[in-house]
Amino acid sequence: MFKVSGATGGYGKTTIIRDVSLEVQPAEIVALLGRNGVGKSTLMRFATGLVKAQAGTVEIAGVAAPPAPSKRAKMGLGYVPQGRFVFPRMTVIENISVAAASNGFDAKQVVAELFEDFPLLVPKAHDLAGGLSGGQQQVLALARALAIRPKILLLDEPTEGVQPSIIDEMAGVLKRVNQEREIAILVAEQNLDFCLSIAERAYVMEKGAIRMETDRDSLLADKVLQQELLGV
C-alpha cells in the first residue's frame, strides 16, 4: 500500500538517512520510533518529496510516486509536519478549504465533515490560525491533512507541546478515521504511550537507518528497549 524502498537523502551534501525501507499495509497504523536526531523527520519529508531523494523510491497505493510533493498529495499522501506549519494569516476554515479545493474536493462539505470530527475547531472557525494555541494548531494541521482525503497519513511528532486532553482526543479521532475511512497511518513519535495506544507495529530507527521492526506486544514486554527509547 505505502512503501519506501532504499531511501537515502538529507540536506545539501549531508546524508541523514541511508537505505531505509519500510512498508505500511492498507488501514494499518505503524509507529516510527527512535530518539531525537535519528532521522525520523527526514524520512517523513523524504516520503513527501520535500527532501530530494539521493536514492530510493516511494510507492503510494502500489504506484510509483513522482518527485513533486503536490503530485504525491494528489495521490493520497497526507502530511502533518513536526511544528504544525499551519498557514498563519489564514483562518481555520481557509486552512482546511485550501487543502480540499487543491485536490478537487468540495471545500464546504469537507470543512463541515472535519468540524464534526474536531468540534474544538468550531468556535475558532473564523480566527487566523496563527493566533491559535499549540494544541489547536496541531488539531488544525491534522484536519488540513485529512482534508485531502488521504489514503496514507504521515504524522510527525503530533503530541509535541500538546496538552494531554487534546492528545486523547487526537488518538480517538485517528483510530476512528483509520477504521471508518481505512486510512493507513505512519506516526513518528517520542511519546511511547501515545504510540502504543494506537499502533500495532513499529519500526525503530537509529543513526539514519532502521534498526529493527517490532510489534506492540514485544515492545510492551521489552523493558530494556522502552528504557532506551525513552532515555535522554
Partner: protein, 288 residues
C-alpha cells in the same frame, strides 16, 4: 484659510494618493504573495500605457483599450515569470537585479519602437469649480477607481480558491506543496496578475500621465518604497501607506513646493523604516 481652498487641496491630495495606489497595487501583489520585488514594475506600467495608446491610435475606444493593455501585460508577465523569475525563487537580490535589467530592455525597446516623445491621447477635459478653484474631473475619478481596484484585488485574494492558494504558497511554501498546491502554476498566475495591474495602471492613467519610455522610473521608486514600508500585510498596508505618504506629500506640496512634498515623502519613508524595519504591518493580525 478659506474652506474652498481646503476642499480643493484635500480632493487633489486624495487623488494623488489614489494615483500612487493604482500604480503600486501590482507591485504589492507580487511582493506580498510571491516575495519577489519586481523592479521592472514601472516598465510594465509603461508597456500598459503604450498598449492602450496604440489601441486608441488604431481606433479602439479608450474603454476597450484598457482591457487590451491588461491582457498584453499579463501575457508578457506570464512569459517573464516562466523564463526568468521562476529560476530565481528565494534569491531576492538576484530577482531585483534581473528585473532591473529587464526594465532597461523594455525601456530601450520602447525607445526603438516609439521614440522618446509620444503624443498624449485626446480626452475631453472636463473641469468643475469649487468657489474660485477649478479642478479636472478625470484625476478625481481616480479616487473611485483606486477604491474599486483595491476591493477587486481584496476579493480576488481572499474569496477565491486561487487567492487562498496564493496566500498559502507565500506563508508556508513547503506545506502548500505538501497539501497538493502546484505553487509554480500559482506563482505564474500571481506574477501575471501583478503585471496586469501595472498595465491597468498605465492605461487608466494615460490621460493624466502621457506614455514615455522612461515613465516607469518615477513610479518604480515611489511604488517600491510604498510596498517596503507597507510590509507583509501587503494590501491593507499598501493602501494605508499610499494614502499617508502620497496624500501627505501632496498636501505638503500644496502648501509649499513640490520639492518639499517629495522631501516629506522620503523623510517619512526613512523615519517609518527606521521605526518598523520589517514594514508597518509586520505585527498586524490580518489576512492581507
Amino acid at each position: 484659510m478659506e474652506p474652498d481652498f481646503l476642499a480643493t487641496v484635500l480632493l487633489s491630495s486624495l487623488s494623488s494618493a489614489s494615483i500612487l495606489l493604482i500604480a503600486t497595487l501590482g507591485l504589492a501583489v507580487v511582493y506580498g504573495l510571491m516575495g519577489v520585488i519586481n523592479l521592472a514594475h514601472g516598465e510594465f506600467l509603461m508597456v500598459g500605457a503604450y498598449s492602450a495608446l496604440t489601441a486608441t491610435q488604431i481606433g479602439l475606444p479608450f474603454l476597450l483599450a484598457i482591457p487590451f493593455a491588461v491582457f498584453m501585460t499579463m501575457l508578457i508577465g506570464a512569459v517573464v515569470e516562466l523564463l526568468i523569475i521562476r529560476r530565481l525563487y528565494g534569491r531576492i537580490f538576484d530577482t531585483m537585479l534581473a528585473t532591473w535589467g529587464l526594465g532597461m530592455v523594455f525601456n530601450q525597446t520602447a525607445v526603438l519602437l516609439f521614440g522618446t516623445v509620444s503624443p498624449g491621447i485626446g480626452m475631453p477635459q472636463w473641469n468643475f469649480r469649487i468657489g474660485d478653484f477649478s479642478l479636472a474631473v478625470y484625476p478625481l475619478t481616480m479616487i473611485v477607481v483606486a477604491a474599486l481596484l483595491l476591493a477587486f484585488v481584496y476579493v480576488l485574494m481572499t474569496k477565491t480558491v486561487y487567492g487562498m492558494k496564493a496566500r498559502a504558497s507565500i506563508q508556508e511554501p513547503q506545506m502548500a506543496q505538501a497539501i497538493g498546491i502546484d505553487s509554480a502554476r500559482v506563482n505564474t498566475l500571481t506574477f501575471a496578475i501583478g503585471c496586469g495591474l501595472a498595465g491597468f495602471a498605465g492605461a487608466i492613467l494615460l490621460p493624466i500621465i502621457p506614455a514615455t519610455p522612461s515613465m516607469g522610473l518615477f513610479f518604480a521608486v515611489k511604488g517600491f518604497l510604498t510596498v517596503v514600508v507597507a510590509g507583509p500585510v501587503a494590501l491593507t498596508g499598501t493602501a494605508l501607506t499610499a494614502l499617508g505618504l502620497g496624500g501627505g506629500a501632496s498636501v505638503t506640496a500644496s502648501f509649499m513646493t513640490s520639492v518639499i512634498g517629495d522631501v516629506f515623502f522620503f523623510f517619512v519613508t526613512a523615519l517609518l523604516l527606521w521605526l518598523y524595519p520589517l514594514g508597518i504591518s509586520s505585527k498586524w493580525r490580518r489576512k492581507l
